[in-house]
Symmetry: C2
Subunit: 190 residues, 2 copies
C-alpha cells in the first residue's frame, strides 16, 4: 500500500516466510489474502508478484477512488470539528516534509493518512475498507508514479479540502477530493 515494493517485483512463499520468521503456511495465507484483495497478482502457475497495472486499470481505480472517497468526505463533513482540521493540518505538514525530502514511501504513507483521518469521521467502515482496498491495489504503481513526476510543492488540493471543511462547503469539498484523487493518477496515462 505504501509503495515499498516496485511494480512487477516477484515474491516467493519461502522468501516471505523467512522475512517474517514463519513457515510457508502463514506466508501462503497472507499472500493469498493479498491476491484476493487485488494487491498482488498471481500467474496461472501460482507465482506471485506485485502487479504492473495497465493504464485502463489505473483509470478505473482512480474513478473508484473518486466515487468512494467523495462520498466518504461528504459523510464526514457534518461531523468534522476543529480537532479534526488541526489533525489534518499536522498530517499535511508531514506530507510537505516527505516531499522536500524526496521520500516517496513517506509521502504516500502520510498522504493516505491524511485521507484516512478525514474518512474515519464518516463512520462508514465498509466504505473505508473499500477505499483502502483500492489504495492497496495502487500502492506499487503510486511509487512508480512518484518517481516520474518530480514533485516540488506540497499537495495543493489538500489545502482546498481543509478550506472546504472549515467553510462547511459540501460541493467544494467534493470537488477538492475528486481533484486530489484524480490529479496524480492522470499523469501516468500520458
Amino acid at each position: 500500500m505504501h509503495g515499498e515494493i516496485a511494480p512487477g517485483h516477484a515474491l516467493t512463499l519461502r522468501g516471505v516466510g523467512q522475512q517474517f520468521d514463519v513457515s510457508m503456511t502463514p506466508a501462503r495465507e497472507a499472500v493469498r489474502r493479498l491476491v484476493a484483495e487485488g494487491a498482488l497478482s498471481m500467474s496461472n502457475s501460482g507465482r506471485v508478484a506485485t502487479p504492473e497495472l495497465s493504464n485502463e486499470r489505473i483509470e478505473e481505480l482512480a474513478a473508484l477512488r473518486a466515487l468512494i472517497e467523495v462520498e466518504l468526505a461528504s459523510r464526514a463533513l457534518p461531523r468534522a470539528h476543529m480537532a479534526l482540521i488541526d489533525r489534518l493540518q499536522t498530517i499535511n505538514g508531514a506530507v510537505s516534509d516527505a516531499v522536500t525530502r524526496h521520500d516517496a514511501v513517506a509521502y504516500i504513507r502520510s498522504n493516505l493518512e491524511f485521507h484516512r483521518a478525514l474518512y474515519l469521521r464518516a463512520q462508514a467502515p465498509a466504505m473505508l475498507a473499500m477505499a483502502e482496498t483500492v489504495w492497496l491495489q495502487l500502492g506499487p504503481t503510486m511509487r512508480a508514479l512518484y518517481g516520474k513526476l518530480r514533485r516540488k510543492e506540497p499537495p495543493h488540493y489538500h489545502r482546498l479540502i481543509i478550506a472546504a471543511l472549515k467553510a462547511g462547503d459540501e460541493p467544494g469539498l467534493r470537488l477538492a477530493v475528486r481533484s486530489d484523487v484524480t490529479q496524480g493518477l492522470k499523469m501516468l496515462a500520458s
Copy 2:
C-alpha cells in the same frame, strides 16, 4: 453470494474440507480469502461464520452498490447493443420464474446475473470486481431479506433499466439502476 447460507451460520475448516473432499489446508485458504473479502466474519478466536450485518452496514453496502453500479451502467450504455438487451430480457424471465417459484437462491442468482451481464459491457474489470465483492458481503443478508418481503411480482426496475438502455437515456438509466439497487435493501432497515 447467492444466499445459500443464512446469516450467522458457523463454518469449520474440517467441515468445509470434507464438503469438497480436500484437507484442511485448501479449506483454510478459501475461508481466509472470503474473510479478507468480507464475505465471512472471523471471531477473535478464529471461528468463522457468515456475517449478521447491522442496519448501518447494510446501508453502507447499499450506498456502495449504488455508487459503483450506477457508474458501471453508465459506462456500459454506449456499448449496449440489441444482443445485450435480448440477453437481459431472457435473464429477466429467469428472475420472474424464480419469483413465482418462491426460490430465493435462484432469484438472487438470476438477479445478480442480470446486473453482471449489463456491467460486463462496461469493460471495467476492477469496478466489476468491486461490485461483486459487495454482492458477496450481502449474500446471506439478501437471503434473509427475501424471506421477509414476500415478493409476488418480478422486479419493476429491471424493465426501466432495459427501457433506458433502448432509449439511450443515461440519466434515466442511472436513476433506474440506483432505484433497483437501493429498493430491496431499504426494506431491511424498517
